[in-house]
């Protein structure tokens, strides 16, 4: 049981980290609290569901479709709301309210479009056979989720630390005013970052439909809560911290499920409180705050 919980915790934890990356990026770059983050994951899940059930295409193909779509939508949306956020004395609070509204709209539209019922995919991303890891049987979507999450996170790191746009993005993370003074196109960089954040969320949706046992329009709030906890544990605004937070969250949840299932929903949040008390800035906040 220990080995199973450990492996499951790492695999699912990597997924949680990946699912929270977009939220972390949006906050880190834009100081935007995207309450609709979970709803974007839900939309990604529905895209995967429709691809699989209507077009009979592997649901993981939702990722390459969702990425450019979400980046485009994100950039346009950011351009649309940025002036209001920029004028606000408290843009973080305004973004909270704004994205709460967006979340409600997405849920309502998803309910109209896909009905209130939970939708599930009966075939896993690579069939229905289980996978043996160190002598333990796992549903194949556990390692698949981790296998998508790790390169996805690495790509984000590559973008942030090995590209010119990434450099501009990190400059924005450090100081918006300094970035503007140094000639960085803040509007374009911010819009692109927001688009990438949405793309990450939508990509996580293609995996979430498996890990969370299906998709329903009202799932977004729970997903946002989980992502928010993961981001806070790892360090707000730090993409690397999101992965660390995901691992902590996943391990705590899976060990609790093994030994005290009734506490499984609570243990990760108790850890969140503990992290807040011991290291309020999160586990890995320093490195990126000053990167």
């Amino acid at each position: 049981m220990v080995l199973y919980a450990l492996i499951a915790g790492v695999l699912i934890g990597l997924f949680y980290g990946f699912a929270a990356l977009g939220l972390s990026l949006a906050f880190g770059v834009l100081r935007v609290v995207n309450i609709a983050h979970g709803d974007v994951i839900v939309l990604g899940s529905y895209l995967a569901y429709e691809l699989s059930t209507q077009a009979h295409i592997n649901p993981l193909f939702a990722i390459p479709i969702a990425v450019p779509l979400a980046v485009a939508i994100g950039m346009v949306f950011y351009r649309f709301v940025a002036p209001s956020l920029g004028r606000s004395k408290d843009p973080e609070m305004l973004s909270l309210i704004l994205f709460f509204g967006v979340s409600q709209v997405i849920e309502a539209l998803a309910t109209i479009g896909f009905s209130v019922n939970q939708d599930t995919l009966l075939t896993g991303p690579v069939g229905n056979a289980s996978v043996q890891i160190f002598g333990q049987s796992f549903p194949n979507y556990y390692p698949v989720a981790a296998a998508v999450a790790v390169p996805g996170a690495l790509l984000v790191m590559f973008y942030l630390y090995r590209s010119r746009l990434g450099l501009a993005t990190r400059a924005l993370m450090s100081s918006r005013a300094d970035a503007m003074l140094s000639g960085i196109d803040v509007g374009r960089t911010s819009a692109l970052s927001f688009g990438i954040a949405l793309a990450l969320a939508a990509s996580a949706g293609a995996l979430s439909i498996y890990v969370n046992g299906g998709v329903s329009p009202s799932q977004g709030t729970d997903l946002t809560t989980t992502a928010f906890a993961v981001v806070v544990i790892g360090g707000l605004g730090n993409p690397a911290g999101a992965l660390a937070g995901g691992l902590v969250f996943g391990l705590a949840e899976q060990f609790a499920q093994s030994y005290e299932p009734n506490w499984a929903g609570m243990v990760p949040y108790v850890l969140l409180l503990a992290v807040m008390l011991v290291k309020p800035e999160g586990l890995l906040s320093r490195r990126v705050r000053y990167a």
């Binding site: 499951a8 939708d119 229905n128 049987s137 549903p139 009202s218 729970d222 093994s258 609570m266």
Partner: protein, 425 residues
């Protein structure tokens, strides 16, 4: 002769007196009827909540449809008969959307009572969304006609303002399941249940029932109602090598649980879940024949039909009429529970001597054990918990184009024999 004359005379006096009394009584009753009719409300307001989104929407919406169906039926026939006014009165339905949120539901229940002044109140689906209504209704002396909240905690000796009108108290549900497991000599049983009144009551009954037969579950754990990831839980269950796995959850738990088992690499001889019997179409779509086949569930109407009823339509008639009224909505147990509950409210109005909530409660209490509707017998405990309905054990069998649920226990109701252990593959 004299005696005969005296007797005839006495009889005549008695007849005359009796006639006079009868005339007076009739006159008085007519007068009372006129007075009552004048005081009668223009409409009977039925209040309910539904969830158009969220975890309980799949069950809540059909329950709401069942209530709407009854309202339409009543109004087509000129209204619901109210004994206190000796007349039929038009029914008005007031319904609000709680979006599966107990907090929102609490506010809306108060609104139904204090602002809409409902005469009949039917809470939303299930224990989670009914729980806020219980204390609010008690505080406002409003009788709840509970359709599908079957948690034991709602029914207490000091609360006369709730009557289980639809689904049987969940504490009674697993009784046939206990007998089935004992009859099959299944001794290693794993029980996983969600931490809510509905599921905890079933788990406790199963646990006690098994222990009474000297069987101690090899796994007995609760998990959060929001659980949708079951890989680790199933692995923990498999480590105890159970002969049967019983999972008590809502449909949002049952679906991922059933879908995770085949992909987990583990296999169990018997798997029991709660909701496939109530929402067979949903489970066929979301779980599929392969994962659902040979699992067990409670068999509920319309799978278990009641042809002889003395209140409302029987199961087959309801199925036909409901399909006609709501062509896009499958005939499921929640829809029938909504209709069945409204019928109990109808009977309370038809029997209560005065138009008060407690009079209705007394009147319907007197009908306990005498009524059979499309969902079975209405029989309540002194605390108001429904104990009349019986939920046999059903097993899902693969059939052409899907699955069929057949009753496998008790043998007196069984339509086929249980396939235990479940065939491989």
């Amino acid at each position: 002769m004299k005696v005969h004359r005296r007797l005839l005379g006495l009889a005549g006096v008695c007849a005359a007196t009796g006639g006079a009394v009868a005339v007076l009584a009739t006159g008085a009753q007519a007068g009372h009827t006129r007075a009552s009719a004048a005081a009668a409300p223009k409409q009977i307001v039925v209040g309910t909540l539904y969830a158009s989104s969220g975890a309980y929407a799949a069950d809540s919406l059909p329950q709401y449809d069942g209530v709407k169906f009854w309202v339409n039926q009543m109004n087509k026939s000129g209204g619901v008969y109210v004994a206190a006014y000796h007349k039929k009165i038009h029914v008005k339905l007031v319904a609000y959307n709680d979006q599966s949120s107990p907090t929102t539901a609490a506010t809306l229940y108060s609104q139904l009572i204090t602002q809409n002044h409902v005469n009949i109140m039917i809470p939303d689906f299930g224990s989670v969304l009914t729980a806020p209504a219980v204390s609010i209704a008690q505080d406002h002396h409003q009788l709840l006609f509970d359709a599908t909240a079957s948690g034991t905690v709602f029914f207490t000796p000091n609360n006369p303002y709730i009557v289980g009108s639809g689904i049987r108290n969940s504490a009674f549900w697993p009784q046939p399941l206990v007998q089935f497991l004992v009859a099959k000599h299944i001794k290693k049983i794993a029980i996983l249940y969600d931490a809510n009144d509905f599921d905890a009551a079933q788990a406790a009954t199963l646990d006690h029932g098994l222990k009474a037969h000297g069987i101690r579950p090899v796994y007995y754990q609760s998990t959060a109602t929001t659980t949708t990831t079951y890989g680790t839980l199933i692995d923990s269950i498999a480590a105890t090598n159970p002969q049967a796995v019983i999972e008590f959850g809502y449909n949002t738990n049952d679906v991922p649980f059933l879908n995770t088992i085949p992909t987990s690499g583990h296999r169990f001889n018997m798997v029991f879940t709660v909701f496939p019997g109530q929402l067979p179409q949903l489970f066929q779509q979301e779980v599929g024949t392969k994962n659902l086949g040979y699992t067990y569930t409670y068999a509920t109407p319309p799978l278990v039909p009641y042809s002889k009823v003395n209140l409302g339509l029987n199961t087959a008639q309801f199925s036909r009429a409901f399909k006609h009224s709501f062509p896009s909505v499958p005939v499921t147990y929640p829809a029938m529970a909504g209709y069945g509950t409204a019928l109990i409210a109808q009977e309370a109005l038809a029997k209560a001597s005065s138009f008060t909530q407690l009079a209705m409660r007394r009147a319907i209490g007197n009908e306990s054990g005498k009524l059979t509707t499309a969902i079975g017998q209405f029989k309540i405990t002194k605390d108001g918990a429904q104990e009349g309905e019986f939920l046999p054990v059903g097993q899902v069998f693969p059939s052409h184009g899907g699955t069929t649920i057949k009753v496998v226990y008790p043998t007196s109701m069984a339509t086929t024999k249980a396939k235990y252990p479940a065939p491989k593959g």
